[in-house]
Each structure stands twice: as structure tokens, then as C-alpha cells.
């Protein structure tokens, strides 16, 4: 098996060098939306994801960040929930020497063909959002693939379907952004933003994610 993989990878690397990298413009881009305020931070989404993907402790495709601040007793807290943002311009993709990372034309899902991954971890360093997760057991990098099998079956990913507060959802990111996508994640009168505090500049990769931001988590502009 190892020999076969080696041969496959060699062919893939050569092809990668020959063909180079052409950005993919998807027919439709799927993306996540998360309500930073109403999220109770229960992490059911994280564990649903671990189970779905059979992950050992360590790699963590979805991460709920607990943010807090203020001075007693005037304090605040909110959650920022992120997995892979399936960016419009993924920084991971061009770094991959074997071409294992690809973006689907159909819906813009970014995924890694693990049979071509050599565990070089370049993508991990390139991603501004910490999405690629190295698994020392398989010596590969893995990440959220938006439960592509569920998407193809006409359903939604495990994290979204596991959300107890219904604050995490998935859909065409353009419609999520312009408010025309019906979702429980966004409450009446709430608007979504592309960026929240302490998050990397979305101009870097154009991540397919939107947030309902906490007042203290809002950024200028």
C-alpha cells in the first residue's frame, strides 16, 4: 500500500508541476453562518464532527472559541465558531505540492484527497484560520469537508444538524450575506458581517463565513 501511495504521489507531483494551479470559481459557494451572541458554546457541533469524521483527540475540524472581556462586574462573553471556511480564494490550495487539495466547482467545497496528502503541513501554515489539522497517527493533514457526503445526499453537515440552539447554519454564502437565505441562525432584525474582532482579515482568502457579531466583537467598517 505504501509503495502504491508513493507512486501515486510521484505522478501527482509531476502533474502538479506541469499543470500549475488554476483558481476555481464555483457555480455556487456554500458557506457557514454563526450567531456569536446566541451560541451557548456547548460544543455539540465539535463533538458531532469528531464522531462523524472518526477523529482521535488532537485534530479538531470545528473549534468554538470562547471570547470574554471587561472588568468585574461589567463583563461580556461571546463565541466564535469556525471550521474550514471553504474560502473563495483558499490559501491552502496553492501551497499543496501534490495537488491533494481541491475545490469543487459545484459548491465551492475545499477538500483534501488524503490518498495524496504527504503530511508536509504547508497548508496548515498558510491558512489564516487554523482550519487544516495535522493528525500524527496517519501523518496527514485533515480538515472539514463540509460533510460533503451529507451535502451530496441533500442534507446538511453534522455540525449544523447538531446545533442545539440552531445558531449554526450552512447555505449559499451570497444569500446568507444579503439576508435572502431563510435561517434560524440569524434572528429577526439581525444582520451578518464578514469579520469579527481578532479574526484574520477576510481580504486574505475571502472566507465563506458570516457572523452575527456581539457588540464587543464588531470591527470597524
Amino acid at each position: 500500500m505504501e509503495e502504491e501511495k508513493k507512486a501515486r504521489v510521484q505522478v501527482a507531483v509531476a502533474a502538479r508541476k506541469r499543470k500549475g494551479y488554476t483558481p476555481v470559481t464555483p457555480d455556487m459557494q456554500l458557506g457557514f453562518v454563526h450567531n456569536n451572541v446566541d451560541c451557548i458554546g456547548c460544543r455539540a457541533c465539535e463533538i458531532a464532527c469528531k464522531d462523524k469524521n472518526g477523529l482521535p483527540p488532537g485534530p479538531r475540524f470545528r473549534r468554538v472559541m470562547y471570547v470574554e472581556g471587561g472588568k468585574f462586574p461589567e463583563v461580556f462573553a461571546y463565541k466564535v465558531n469556525m471550521s474550514c471556511n471553504h474560502c473563495a480564494e483558499p490559501a491552502c490550495l496553492p501551497t499543496c505540492p501534490t495537488g491533494a487539495i481541491f475545490k469543487r466547482t459545484k459548491d465551492g467545497i475545499v477538500d483534501i484527497d488524503s490518498s495524496l496528502c504527504i503530511g508536509c503541513r504547508r497548508c496548515e501554515a498558510a491558512c489564516p484560520f487554523g482550519a487544516p489539522q495535522f493528525d500524527p497517527i496517519s501523518n496527514t493533514v485533515m480538515k472539514c469537508n463540509l460533510c460533503v457526503d451529507e451535502i451530496d445526499a441533500g442534507r446538511k453537515p453534522y455540525c449544523v444538524m447538531g446545533c442545539m440552539m440552531r445558531v449554526l447554519d450552512v447555505g449559499p454564502i451570497d444569500k446568507i450575506r444579503d439576508g435572502s437565505y431563510a435561517t434560524k441562525a440569524v434572528g429577526p432584525g439581525e444582520r451578518v458581517v464578514r469579520q469579527v474582532r481578532n479574526m484574520a482579515n477576510p481580504e486574505l482568502t475571502n472566507p465563506s463565513i458570516a457572523f452575527v457579531a456581539h457588540p464587543k466583537g464588531k470591527v470597524e467598517g
Binding site: 470574554e68 462586574p73 457526503d149
Partner: protein
């Protein structure tokens, strides 16, 4: 492939390995070999990790989670052969014709499992699973066992039971079953309806444990005040409140009802305001944008008295409601027999004791500014309908029942009882599920003595030189009344009580004096390490049952035997039935079963359950057959109206279940006690709610000289008590840590991540510190349930706060889990989290301050 290998593979999979490990069949092995045959790069397409069984390629079996968490959600097992490959949850498809993928309405919401439920696969297949009967070979507590045959283990126990009963009488065996394996209708574990209680009671040798660790103060209060613990509204009613006061309640952590937290989100969207009274700014406070009122632990009743003062003196009470429905709220509602005695209003205004319970008086005790007490009282009295949800945690204090009784008084004086959007909780038990499928008859819950649960060690260590009131001996009307039980053995079923009851060091001493300790469990636990015999118990995936909602929620979930029991594990029902056969009463204990039940349980369990479903059909109008229910997996009821406790009492004049038929602010029962030593409580309890000084608190300046911090021990979201402590996926999401206010930490020179020792006269524990502005100064927080891990000096390196708690309960039986003064210091001792932290992500809790 042996079971362990299958488990290991099933859990430690990279996605490419999934099929090889999880299934290991010839067909999949062939598929695996052909995977890399092509050396040309394949056109990139999903699923990139193939071969990977998608959900639709696996066998789907709806079931539920099982434990005693305050909720009950659906799990959907996806299995290949006899191995569960993954779990999902309710997605709307499993509830019959009106369902469908994504169906999720306010009327019939999905029952989505929490993080614990989602991690069940790693509990089922954990390295800590017990697979064979084990008999102790080392010293008790040393943790040395050898594998035994079922025959040998059962004979050993049966023989011991006969010896102990003969030598020491009908008290000798202490039932410490609890709800850890509960909330099925057939395989039950608890003190009242449990299988163990019926087994020991029928055998004629049982001391039971009557006080409930989670909410005894609350239970007491609701029984005295309303005459019932069914004081709860269904979770959907919370969407209709205009104000929700979360008193010590953190629904983001401790779910109370399957979707309460979600309905509260809907309430927020509809303009409901939220208030949190708690020493901590919880995730509930942030998610519901609540007004946070930090309060000194164990002083809640004082603050409530201050609120009552403001309401009375400003005429904000609902006098009409008071006159019609309450007893003893004010002089006008005092019953004939109590004329001239102190009413609740007399107490609040200080007419008898000369101390008006003003907001200023309250402020000096509870630390909340008087202006805030007034503001909250005003808000609560003027907002209709308003829900004051008096949670259980503040009741887990010395005299915690006074907090619950006082809360009921506030709920009543503002007329918020029996009304949609109001709240009389308390206990919070709402719609009454049809709960029991096995024979519940005159043999169930038979006991020859019953003690306060947390006094067992005190009893064993001091027998026979103690008074009945020291152990809260429940009165009897026969010649066993007042007889101090001579407990010589303990049975655990669904219970890790040794780890969970207060003052563990005292329990360790008591444990040494016992002749027999028997533990039924699915995994090894800290209690199990102290057992003489470990019986391996099948998990709820490995036995047939039906899941009940937990106090709230109108639905049933079918729970089939998803896979065959691992190893030689058996159900509790099988084990007790077989023991009963060996002791000569097997046929009475399990009348539907023959002796074959130990090996073949399917037909008998099916018979019990289908007979139980007939009761559901008759009592609750379920309109589908048992077969249809099994095919769907879940049955969600639509109730005729949103269920609000006491609505009939208020709207139709149905009497409350109290002696007077009223809401008893003045308790008839308590007022008529003449000799408290002959009650189960043992010590006086006021007949009207009164602020009562706790054993210790931040106001006790003398005690604070040595132990300046008040420790509270709330429930964690990543465990159900001690269950799930061993799950790596969950361990990744938290630290067992002590939460310290930033200013306090600065004084002590402690930073986040420092290892500190928390100690008092009862014990010592070592754990990392988490420094934050979100907890009030003087208060530290450690979540209950970590698995005890003592070093050679008796220091708990895991951080189980029950090495510090006091085993002296409140008179009404409430555990004093949150009444603990402690001190802290930095230490060189290392914390032992009980698992491999190096295996996890770089920043595993993922937390930052801005």
C-alpha cells in the same frame, strides 16, 4: 478480531481506516486493497476519503442518550454489522407522517443531543469498559482485581448476602443505587423505582438513602409549599415569558428539558428580558444578554427577603392572588389554627422579631447593592408574566430549603403561578410520563431503614453511638422505628456515589469497615475501585428499553438493542434476576422471566415494554401501536395546551395538594411538628420561609481568617456528574480547573495555567487555575464530578471538590455541596488530569480574553 481490538480500531481511526477497523469484513477489505490500484491522479471529487461508509450505506437505528442530566435527546446510531460507526441526532425524520428531514417547529422541535450525547460512541467503546465480572484480589481501594466467571461472582455475592442478613439483620445492606443508568422505563436505577431497591427490598435486607443530592432542598420546598414536586412547566412555555430570572440557573450547562434553552432564545427574540443571579457570569448570561447580579453563595434567601420587603411595602403584591390561593402569606391568610402566629409578611416586615428585612439588611448579607435588590423586585413585580426559575444549585447549601421556600413565596406574591409565562419551579417536573415497565408492586422500594444519603459514612464510622437525628432516620410505624441501622455492605447500581457524595476522605475511612461492596457499572469508576465485585453492565445501546424525557418534554424515544452486549456484560435486570434465583425469589422478582433470562433477555424485555406501551395508549392517548412506535423511533405528543403547573388550581379552583388546599407559605405540616428528632429532618425547620445563617459563608469572618474563599461546585457541561469524565473528545474541550477572580488571583500571584492546591480541614486537591473577571471576588469555582485520583499523601490530584465538601446536610436534607470555605496556594505538586494532554490540540480549550 477480539472485542478490544475492534473497539480500539473503531475509535482510533483515521478516516481511511474506518472500514478496516470498524467492519473488518471480507468485502470491505477487498475494497480497501483496490483503493490505490490506479497510479494516475484521480479526478478530484468527493468523497476524498473513500472508502467511507456514508450514512445511507449504513444501518440506521434511532435511539437516545441515557443519563441523568436533566434532559433526554435522540441519538441515531449508524452501524455496520454489530459496530456503531457513528452517531447523529434527531433531524426531523423519525417522528412519523408530519416529519421529514429538517422538520423542526416550535410546536414539535427536534431533540438534538448535546456534546455528551454526541460522544457516546467513545464511552461505549472506551478503554474503561468493564467486560467481565471481576473479584477484588488486593486491598479494598487498591484497584487490583482478577477476572471471574459469572457463576463464581454471583455465588460469592449470594453467599455474602445470606451471611450478612443472618448476622446483622434487615439493615445490613445499603442501597446506593442512583440515576446514572436511568431514565429508561425498564432498566431503572434509582432509590424509589430502581431495580436494585426492589431486589434488596424483596430479599428483606435493605437500608435506603432518601435524600437526593441534586435537589433535596427543592423537593422539600415544593412538597411543603405546593404538596407536589410537579411544579414545572413544559419547556415550550418559556418562550412566552416577558422576564426570566435565572436564579443560580445556567441552562447553557445544565439542560432542564430538551429544548428549554432554545425556547428561551425564542423568548429573547420576542423581547423577553433576562436576569442572572449567580456568583458567576455564565454562558447563559451572555447568550441571553442577561443583567448579571453577582451574589455571595448561600445567601440567596436573604436577597429574596429583601425583594419581598420592597414588594410588600410598596403594595406591588398581587393581593387578590394572595387572598385566594395562599396560606400564611400575610395576617389575612393565616388559617384559624394559626391565628396570632407570625405570618410571612410579619417576618418580612419584622413585626415580631424587630428586624425588618429591608433591602439594606439583605445587602449586608448577600453583597448585592440594595438599589439592585429594589430594582429587581420592582422589575419582577411589574412585569407580567414573569418567570422566576429558582434553580437547584442555591438549594445545595446548608439551609438551602429556605431559599427555595422563599422563591415560592415570591412567585406566589407576584401572582406568577399557574399562568403561561410565569413559573412555580422549583423542582421543575412537568408533564408526567408513564414511567415504569417492570413490575412495580408491593415489593418495590421496601426498606427497613432509610437515612440521609450523605450520612452513610458518619453512620458506619459511629455505629451504634449516634442519635437518629444525626443520620436523618426516616420514621416508621413499626418496631424498627428509631433503630440505628448496622450497615455492613453497599450495593451500587448506576451510581458512582463514592466519588460524588461529600467528604470523600471520611467515606474512605468508612469503606474500610464494610464487609461487602458490590458495583454494577458499564465502566470502571473511582467507586468501582473500592468494590469487592465488579459486575459488567450493558450500556443502553446493548439492551432494549424506552427513554423518558427528563421532567420536561412530551415524548418517548424507543431504545432498541442496537448492538449485542460487549464482552460478557449483562443488564442490571439480568444480574438481579439471576441473583434472586440463587437466593430463592427469582420468579417473584421477575415474573415474566424464566431462569433462561440471564442468557436470553430479548423476548422478556419486549413483553414488558409492549405491555407498558398499552398503558401509554390508555393513559395518555397515544394513537400509534407499539410496532409503529418501534418503527418510527420516537413518539412526540402534542399536549392539548401548553403545560403550565397549577393552571387548573388557578383557573378552575382545583385545590392544591397541600393539607389546606392552598399554596402553603405557612406549612401546616411543619407548623405542627412537636418533636423534630422523630422526623426524618431531625432538626427544626421554620414553618414560614426564613433567612437562616449557613454553616459557613463569606460573612463568617472568623472562619475566613483561615479559609478566605467560598468554593461552589456546579455541574459541568462536559460531564453528567462523573459520567463522561474519561472521554477524550470531551476532555479536549475543557480543563478540570479552579476558576478565580482576577483581583484575587493577582493578590495571590496566580495566573491562568498555574497549578494550585485548594484545601481546607477536610481535604486537599491540586488543579490548574483559570483567572477571569467572570466570577465575583472571594468565590472560586470547581466543577463537580472529576474522578478522584489520590496520591500517597491523600491529596486528590484530579481536582474532585468532594474531598473538600461537608457531609453535614441541611435539616431538610439538602446536600451542602456549595457551602464550603477553602484556601488556595500555588503548589509544586502536579495535577493529574487522568488522560494524555499531549494528544490534543495546541490550545485545547480555545479561550481568549480581549
Amino acid at each position: 478480531m477480539d472485542a478490544k481490538t475492534i473497539l480500539g480500531n473503531a475509535l482510533n481511526v483515521s478516516r481511511r481506516d474506518v472500514l478496516q477497523g470498524a467492519a473488518g469484513t471480507a468485502a470491505t477489505a477487498a475494497a480497501g486493497a483496490s483503493l490505490f490500484r490506479a497510479v494516475e491522479p484521480r479526478e478530484a471529487k468527493a468523497f476524498a476519503y473513500s472508502p467511507y461508509p456514508t450514512d445511507d450505506e449504513l444501518v440506521t437505528v434511532p435511539t437516545s442518550c441515557a443519563h441523568n442530566c436533566g434532559s433526554r435527546h435522540m441519538l441515531v446510531a449508524h452501524k455496520k454489522g454489530d459496530v456503531i460507526v457513528r452517531l447523529s441526532t434527531d433531524d426531523g425524520r423519525y417522528q412519523g407522517p408530519q416529519g421529514g428531514f429538517g422538520y423542526d417547529t416550535e410546536e414539535m422541535p427536534q431533540l438534538r443531543a448535546c456534546l455528551r450525547g454526541r460522544s457516546y460512541r467513545s464511552r461505549l467503546y472506551s478503554a474503561e469498559r468493564l467486560l467481565y465480572p471481576m473479584i477484588r484480589v488486593g486491598e479494598r481501594g487498591e484497584g487490583k482485581f482478577k477476572r471471574a466467571s459469572w457463576d463464581a461472582a454471583l455465588d460469592f455475592i449470594a453467599g455474602k448476602m445470606q451471611d450478612l442478613k443472618q448476622k446483622y439483620g434487615p439493615h445490613a445492606l445499603l442501597d446506593q443505587s442512583y440515576a446514572g443508568a436511568s431514565y429508561g422505563v425498564l432498566h431503572k436505577s434509582d432509590q424509589i423505582e430502581g431495580l436494585l431497591g426492589r431486589f434488596l427490598g424483596m430479599y428483606g435486607c435493605r437500608t435506603s438513602s432518601w435524600s437526593v443530592p441534586s435537589y433535596q432542598a427543592t423537593t422539600f420546598s415544593s412538597r411543603m409549599t405546593f404538596g407536589t414536586i410537579e411544579d414545572g412547566n413544559e419547556d415550550d412555555t418559556f418562550a412566552h415569558s416577558k422576564l426570566i430570572i435565572m436564579w443560580g440557573w445556567n441552562p447553557a450547562y445544565t439542560f432542564h428539558g430538551g429544548n428549554t434553552f432554545y425556547y428561551m432564545r425564542l423568548a429573547k427574540q420576542r423581547g423577553c428580558r433576562f436576569v442572572l443571579i449567580d456568583p458567576q457570569y455564565s454562558d447563559s448570561a451572555s447568550a441571553y444578554d442577561a443583567w448579571w447580579i453577582p451574589i455571595r453563595p448561600a445567601t440567596d434567601a436573604a436577597m429574596m427577603a429583601g425583594m419581598a420587603f420592597h414588594i410588600f411595602t410598596n403594595g406591588l403584591q398581587d393581593q387578590d392572588f394572595i387572598n385566594r390561593f395562599t396560606q400564611g402569606m400575610d395576617p389575612g391568610t393565616m388559617p384559624q389554627w394559626a391565628q396570632g402566629q407570625e405570618s410571612f409578611k410579619d417576618y418580612i416586615l419584622g413585626t415580631r422579631d424587630g428586624q425588618p428585612k429591608t433591602p439594606e439588611w439583605a445587602s449586608a448579607i448577600c453583597g448585592v447593592p440594595a438599589t439592585d435588590i429594589v430594582k429587581l423586585a420592582d422589575l419582577y413585580a411589574r412585569t407580567k408574566p414573569a418567570a422566576l426559575k429558582a434553580s437547584w444549585a442555591p438549594g445545595r447549601n446548608s439551609n438551602g430549603e429556605q431559599y427555595n421556600r422563599m422563591a415560592a413565596a415570591l412567585q406566589a406574591m407576584t401572582g406568577n403561578i399557574g399562568k403561561l409565562g410565569g413559573c412555580a419551579e422549583g423542582v421543575g417536573k412537568a408533564w408526567h410520563a408513564e414511567g415504569i415497565a417492570y413490575p412495580y408492586d408491593e415489593f418495590s422500594n421496601v426498606w427497613y431503614a432509610s437515612i440521609k444519603s450523605d450520612r452513610w459514612a458518619h453512620l458506619v464510622l459511629n455505629y451504634p453511638n449516634l442519635k437518629r437525628e444525626e443520620i436523618g432516620l426516616w420514621p416508621r410505624s413499626d418496631n424498627l422505628d428509631g433503630v440505628i441501622p448496622n450497615v455492613r455492605g453497599i450495593f451500587w447500581q448506576g451510581s458512582n456515589w463514592f466519588n460524588q457524595l461529600p467528604n470523600i476522605n471520611k467515606q474512605i475511612e468508612a469503606m474500610k469497615k464494610l464487609d461487602l461492596v458490590v458495583c454494577n457499572d458499564a465502566t470502571i469508576t473511582p467507586s468501582g475501585l473500592y468494590a469487592d465485585v465488579l459486575f459488567p453492565v450493558a450500556t443502553h445501546f446493548e439492551r432494549h428499553d424506552v427513554a423518558l424525557p427528563w421532567y420536561k418534554g412530551h415524548y418517548y424515544i424507543h431504545r432498541p438493542k442496537v448492538i449485542q452486549p460487549l464482552g460478557e456484560s449483562k443488564t442490571d435486570f439480568q444480574i438481579y434476576t439471576e441473583l434472586a434465583h440463587r437466593l430463592g425469589f427469582g420468579e417473584r422478582y421477575n415474573p415474566r422471566a424464566s431462569r433462561e433470562y440471564f442468557h436470553y433477555d430479548d423476548a422478556v424485555d419486549e413483553a414488558y415494554l409492549s405491555a407498558w406501551w398499552e398503558k401509554v395508549q390508555h393513559h395518555q392517548g397515544a394513537d400509534i401501536s407499539w410496532e409503529e412506535f418501534k418503527a418510527r423511533g420516537t413518539y412526540k405528543f402534542k399536549l392539548p395546551r401548553l403545560h403550565v403547573a397549577f393552571q387548573d388550581q388557578i383557573e378552575k379552583g382545583v385545590p392544591f395538594q397541600t393539607p389546606s388546599g392552598k399554596i402553603e407559605i405557612l406549612s401546616t405540616q411543619l407548623a405542627q411538628v412537636t418533636d423534630w428528632t422523630r422526623t426524618a429532618w431531625g432538626h427544626p425547620i421554620p414553618a414560614i420561609p426564613k433567612w437562616t445563617e449557613p454553616f459557613e459563608s463569606l460573612n463568617h469572618t472568623e472562619k475566613r481568617a483561615e479559609h478566605p474563599f467560598h468554593l461552589i461546585t456546579p455541574h459541568a457541561r462536559w460531564r453528567t456528574h462523573s459520567i463522561f469524565n474519561n472521554i477524550p473528545w470531551l476532555r479536549e474541550t475543557y480543563e478540570q480547573e479552579v476558576t478565580i477572580n482576577a483581583a484575587d488571583a493577582a493578590t495571590l500571584g496566580i495566573k491562568t495555567g498555574d497549578t494550585v492546591e485548594v484545601y481546607n480541614a477536610r481535604g486537599r486537591m491540586v488543579l490548574p487555575a483559570y483567572v477571569t473577571e467572570r466570577v465575583m471576588p472571594g468565590v472560586v469555582v470547581v466543577h463537580e464530578g472529576a474522578w478522584l485520583d489520590l496520591d500517597g499523601d491523600g491529596v486528590d490530584r484530579a481536582g474532585n471538590p468532594d474531598v473538600l465538601t461537608l457531609d453535614e446536610p441541611s435539616p431538610a436534607g439538602g446536600f451542602a455541596y456549595n457551602t464550603i470555605l477553602v484556601n488556595l496556594r500555588k503548589t509544586d505538586l502536579n495535577h493529574r488530569p487522568g488522560w494524555d494532554q499531549l494528544a490534543t490540540s495546541r490550545a485545547h480549550v480555545f479561550r481568549r480574553s480581549t
